[in-house]
């Protein structure tokens, strides 16, 4: 009744739906105005400084070298190519880091739960030390304090006369394959795949036949045949196609080693630091995952007569993995993002060669930083979409 007397505007103001619309329209206007202001400022600033805009620079010649490239690259290649080189280097160190950090993290997480007091204490010291010190400091420590004081190539530390460690990096022997050897490698992988597929389809038959008296022997023969075919077929092939494998051993030539695979110290330091740092977090993830499986589950499995190893593999780990996988993926994403600290020691990752050198040479900060951020954002969003799918699947399976 009373409402009728109020003017239209007051009525609208008091209506929550209209008020919400008003707020949102105002927000959109504010954001648009802000963006327009920023774009305007940026354009005029760039003009003042004489910096061009647009993505033309990607096809210009870069004119600088990069110390580690996974694809062909030299100074004459374009900035577009440096982007690719940097991206691949980022992916390389992330990949290596994820593998090492996972292994180390799981070992330490399990050690942390060990009934052995000393082992558990040492695991917890590892965790508390490495996760409470900035990653950048750890990278510096490995790069400058550990790898930086290694001897020069002539005084290299040599392991078995084939691995050489010096201030320029770690030189490792690397296999050199001829065409025949490549064929053999393919044959080997094909055999392995075939046997695995075969075993998968025969597993229930094998399990059943194992316990039948007349077939037990046969099962053994079949298994032996499968295992040996993986070895024998490639071996026979290698005689047929003249396969040769030569290990290329690093050799001291002048002031440096040549040949073999060289792990540059920047990569080694970054790899160690990222893995060791992330492993501390993964260990905590693993510990809380395993602890989330109730004691009753382990007791019920043990009471059924399962061996401790089986209790772990059939009951504890499958349940713990549900809890572990989402935060573990998060740690992987952190590792990928943290690999950008490469720029502080000059490992040529995406941020270092693109958001660093390329930006300095072209001055096109907006484009370069937007592209760099887009790469990381794409990786993060892709992974989180996959993670949402996984979570939905996992919750479907249990309920």
């Amino acid at each position: 009744m009373a409402n009728k007397r109020h003017p239209m505007l007051v009525r609208l103001w008091r209506d929550p739906v209209w008020r919400a619309v008003l707020f949102q329209v105002l927000l959109i206007l504010a954001v648009v105005a802000m963006v327009a202001w920023v774009v305007n400022n940026t354009l005029s600033n760039l003009e003042h400084r004489g910096i061009s805009t647009g993505f033309d620079f990607l096809s210009q010649s870069a004119g600088f070298g990069i110390i580690q490239t996974l694809v062909e690259y030299d100074e004459s290649h374009t900035f577009g190519r440096t982007f690719l080189v940097g991206l691949l280097n980022t992916l390389l160190v992330s990949f290596l880091g994820v593998i090492f950090a996972t292994i180390l993290g799981f070992l330490i997480g399990v050690a942390r739960l060990s009934s052995n007091w000393l082992l558990s204490k040492m695991a917890s010291i590892y965790i508390e030390v490495f996760r409470n010190i900035p990653l950048l400091l750890q990278i510096f420590f490995w790069y400058f304090a550990v790898l930086g004081i290694l001897p020069n190539p002539r005084q290299s530390i040599s392991l078995f006369d084939s691995i050489f460690i010096n201030v320029r990096g770690i030189s490792l022997p690397w296999p050199e394959l001829n065409a025949g050897m490549v064929t053999v490698a393919w044959v080997f992988m094909a055999c392995l795949a075939a046997v695995l597929v075969l075993r998968f389809f025969m597993r229930s038959w094998l399990l059943k036949a194992q316990h039948q008296e007349n077939k037990g022997q046969m099962v053994l023969y079949i298994k032996a045949a499968m295992a040996s075919s993986v070895v024998l077929i490639p071996l026979v092939t290698s005689f047929l196609v003249d396969a040769q494998l030569r290990w290329e051993i690093p050799e001291l030539k002048g002031f440096n080693f040549s040949g073999g695979l060289v792990l540059i110290p920047e990569l080694a330091a970054l790899w160690f630091a990222l893995s060791i740092y992330t492993a501390a977090f993964i260990a905590e993830v693993v510990r809380s995952g395993i602890e989330s499986v109730s004691k009753g589950q382990k007791e019920a499995a043990a009471a059924l007569g399962l061996k401790p190893r089986r209790v772990l593999s059939l009951v504890v780990i499958p349940q713990a993995m549900r809890v572990i996988i989402p935060p573990l993926t998060n740690q992987y994403l952190n590792l990928i993002k943290n690999s950008s600290l490469a720029t502080a020691i000059g490992y040529p990752d995406l941020v270092s060669v693109f958001a660093g050198t390329t930006l300095n040479q072209t001055g096109q900060a907006v484009e370069v930083i937007a592209m760099t951020m887009a790469v990381y954002l794409t990786i993060s969003l892709t992974v989180s979409v996959l993670m949402n799918l996984y979570n939905r699947w996992a919750s479907l399976v249990e309920r």
Binding site: N41, L118, L119, E128, V129, N132, I133, F141, Y376, I379
Partner: protein, 362 residues
Amino acid sequence: MKSTMMEEKMIPAREPPVNSRGVLGWMREKLFATPSQSLITLTLIYGLYLILPPLWQWAVMDATWTGESRSACNVDGACWAFVTARLDQFIYGFYPESEIWRVNLFFVQLVLILGWLMIPAIPGKKLALGLGLLVLPVTSWLVLSGGYFGLPEVETHKWGGLMVTLVLALYGMLASLPVGVLLALGRRSSMPVIRTFCTAYIELWRGVPLITVLFMASVMLPLFVPEEIVFDKLVRALIGIVMFQSAYMAEVVRGGLQAIPKGQVEACQSLGMGYWQSMLLVVLPQALRLVIPGIVNTFIALFKDTSLVLVIGLFDLLSIVQAALNDPEWLGSAVEGYLFAGFVFWLFCFGISKYSQRLEKN
């Protein structure tokens, strides 16, 4: 079936057998339970025996504690002289020596407020929180930068060392908490535009490395504003840190908001409270209390992340140690320098996390 009666013959409790009691029982249980456990224990003890005594010899017994250059140090021991000689610089950066009392005043303010907040026996937590959140940032900034009340101005490029680390962490935290709360509320808002905007903001910053955000703040921010406005380098770094950290803070706070049952808001509505009243008076106080551990973790991450300002040319604790290592007088002191900086960072981060764990238990 026979029935036995043991009425008056209750068996009294005994001590456990010797081999499962006291130190011996503990060792049998925790160190030598099975042969493989014993093997692990012995291997670890041997490993510690190989590492610890030489380390002690290097770090303490053979160490040199004072001196003017690397040449004053014992070659076989740690050269802590590097740290003691440069300690002032590591703490105060290039702050003018005559004005250092101002930095100390900042430290004292910080310790007093934190002590007040952290020691349960002292009353008046709300007052302390108010002082810490509202007064301390203002007074600290005035004292440190000066230019008022006859205090000579000290430009931020002269700030450095531990002091910059603490300034970045403190202001980064104080600003990212309210921004994070707003973003979290926005992400749970019923208005689609606001929700989309907040979600996009949060996911954007959480999806990229801090280093790119710092690059952006340092290189692009000056481009975004009219040329007349010049941002201080420290302020630019702070803007970057706050943009980045508030996204993480928002996700922590959102976790807390989700844990508050819907009935709480409904109860507020039935009492006639509006949105902001019910959020500020009822929901947020509960939600924030729930996520204190998450907030502390974010703060620890922020504290460690301040070391990244090195890449845009600011001198925090790590970068000032890094710079000092290039001094020809002290070449080769990297291990000592990093151990010192690492220890200081570790002390802060470990201390905060231990304190928050204790808080959680109570």
